[in-house]
């Protein structure tokens, strides 16, 4: 433990030993790893070591006498005060606390030991606080936690995927078994054959769908190139021009025709195609369909927004299911419940994300976040 004397100027010190001690202790308090500060019993600074001043970008003379809580982030005031109270309740035991400190571009995570120093009569006199920076550790920890979250999420999705796929394969197999079970009694072999044919075709289609999804998820090196947003969207529109014209859809492009983004062109096309055809499929019978497409940048994403004025969906109710596999929400016979699942899978394969807002009978807005850092 550092004695309090060493922190004050020791002009009066005599003898070689004292001088050696002085240099020794000075080298400790002027170290470049640990913060050493002292406060009075009210928490006002009585000493700040050079390293602390340097890292927090403060001047010792400006802060002496000021309350040390001012250099603790608001969120950590309570825990800081609690720790001080613990010190008072048991002055012989040092206490540890993690405090965030404000710095010009964010926060510093710091770990501290608080200890009460006593005067000659054994009464609490001041606080000695020694701390160090654990920001890199915390950042690593956060990174790890997010990786664990992603892994857990992927595991959950895989398990769910397994149940869904087995269900979807089984449902066709169950039909075939069921038909075979009754075929003897049915007597009408042609009918049985037709039903088996239908089931087998569906089974085959299901397997193809699953293949498609697995191949998206399995893609490790996805070719990404820069595309012109307007041209690419226009190309998709051209390919479904008949549908667009028949439904009398109005398309509004609210962005500059020179905008570009990094994406996998095949996925981009598939995603746009799905959103456009969905907007047509689920148009409101009460108004002419209109799709407004906007574009903006957000952090390291380029964001495409598709807003339609269609049937909309009860987002509160179906939030968890909307991007789920084989989920359908409207009375359309041609809905397979795969489109949005594939769209989400494709955009996530490009390390992007998709968000949705919707109101029943108002319309639906999809926001596509294309990650521009992913190459």
């Amino acid at each position: 433990m550092i004695k309090k004397e060493i922190l004050t100027d020791q002009n009066t010190s005599l003898g070689k030993q004292a001088q050696t001690d002085d240099a020794y202790f000075r080298s400790i308090i002027e170290n470049n790893s640990f913060y050493i500060i002292k406060t009075d019993l009210d928490g006002n600074y009585t000493y700040l070591n050079p390293f602390f001043c340097k890292k927090l970008n403060v001047k010792s003379e400006e802060w002496l006498g000021k309350n040390s809580l001012s250099l603790v982030m608001q969120e950590d005031h309570d825990i800081c005060v609690e720790t001080v109270q613990l010190c008072f309740s048991d002055p012989d035991t040092p206490r540890w606390v993690m405090l965030r400190k404000p710095i010009p571009n964010g926060a510093l995570f710091t770990q501290w030991e608080f200890k009460i120093l006593k005067d000659d009569n054994g009464n609490p006199f001041e606080f000695l606080c020694i701390g160090h920076d654990i920001t890199p550790l915390i950042l690593k920890q956060e990174e790890l936690r997010s990786l664990v979250d992603i892994a857990a999420e992927q595991n959950k999705r895989l398990l769910n995927f397994t149940y869904i796929t087995s269900h979807n394969i089984r449902s066709h197999v169950a039909n075939i078994l069921g038909i075979l079970n009754i075929s003897q009694e049915l007597g009408d072999y042609q009918m049985a054959l037709d039903l088996i044919q239908e089931s087998t075709t569906s089974l085959n289609e299901t397997l193809n769908n699953l293949n498609e999804i697995i191949s998206i998820q399995a893609h490790t090196s996805l070719p990404m190139i820069e595309v012109n947003v307007f041209e690419e969207i226009n190309r998709v529109i051209q390919s479904v021009q008949v549908i667009i014209s028949n439904a009398d859809v109005t398309l509004d492009y609210n962005f500059d025709e020179t905008e570009v983004l990094n994406t996998n062109p095949a996925y981009f096309e598939s995603i746009i195609l799905n959103l456009i055809t969905n907007a047509v499929k689920y148009k409101s019978p009460d108004r002419a369909p209109r799709i407004v497409i906007t574009f903006h940048e957000h952090e390291h994403y380029k964001v495409l927004t598709f807003q339609d004025n269609g049937l909309g969906i009860d987002i509160e109710k179906y939030k968890d299911q909307l991007f789920g596999m084989y989920k359908t929400f409207h009375k359309n016979n041609d809905s397979r419940g795969l489109g949005l699942y594939i769209t989400k899978t494709q955009i996530e394969a490009m390390h992007g994300k998709i968000e949705v807002e919707s109101g029943v009978n108002v319309g639906t807005t999809f926001k596509l976040y294309f990650n521009q850092k992913f190459t």
Partner: protein, 134 residues
């Protein structure tokens, strides 16, 4: 074929969006109980209104056996049961509900076993053995 208790039900309702499965179920039920009063719904919402209608008709006291699929568009079997629970089914005893599904998700099977309104879980396709057990 020996007829068992199941044919004492005065009405059968099959709710499943899968047309082929319904053909199989219909055949199995009718083969087992040839005079069965059978109602088949591919649209769960329509089935729900039908059951609510029965519930509201105090003169309709027919004992009813329901086969309910889980994975259906818009409303799942579970949501169907939830909606049924909320309709204040005044004569719960009138309805016996079995879940029929091709799901092998253990949570689905457990959920069926634990559900107050559900009497059992049958893995598709519906067979005479299933009917024997009712």
């Amino acid at each position: 074929m020996s007829q068992t208790a199941v044919c004492a039900y005065q009405r059968f309702i099959i709710i499943d969006d899968d047309r082929i499965n319904n053909i199989v179920s219909k055949f199995v039920v009718l083969k087992y109980c040839k005079d069965a009063d059978l109602h088949i719904y591919t649209d769960p919402e329509a089935a729900l209104s039908y059951i609510q209608e029965i519930n509201n008709d105090s003169l309709d006291q027919l004992n009813t056996l329901v086969f309910l699929d889980i994975n259906m568009p818009r409303i799942s079997g579970w949501e169907f049961l939830e909606a049924l629970g909320q309709t204040n089914l005044s004569r719960t005893k009138q309805f016996t509900i079995f879940i029929t599904s091709s799901s092998i998700d253990p949570s689905d099977i457990k959920r069926a076993q634990d559900h107050a309104l559900v009497s059992g879980f049958f893995s598709k396709p519906l067979t005479f053995e299933h009917l024997n057990k009712i």
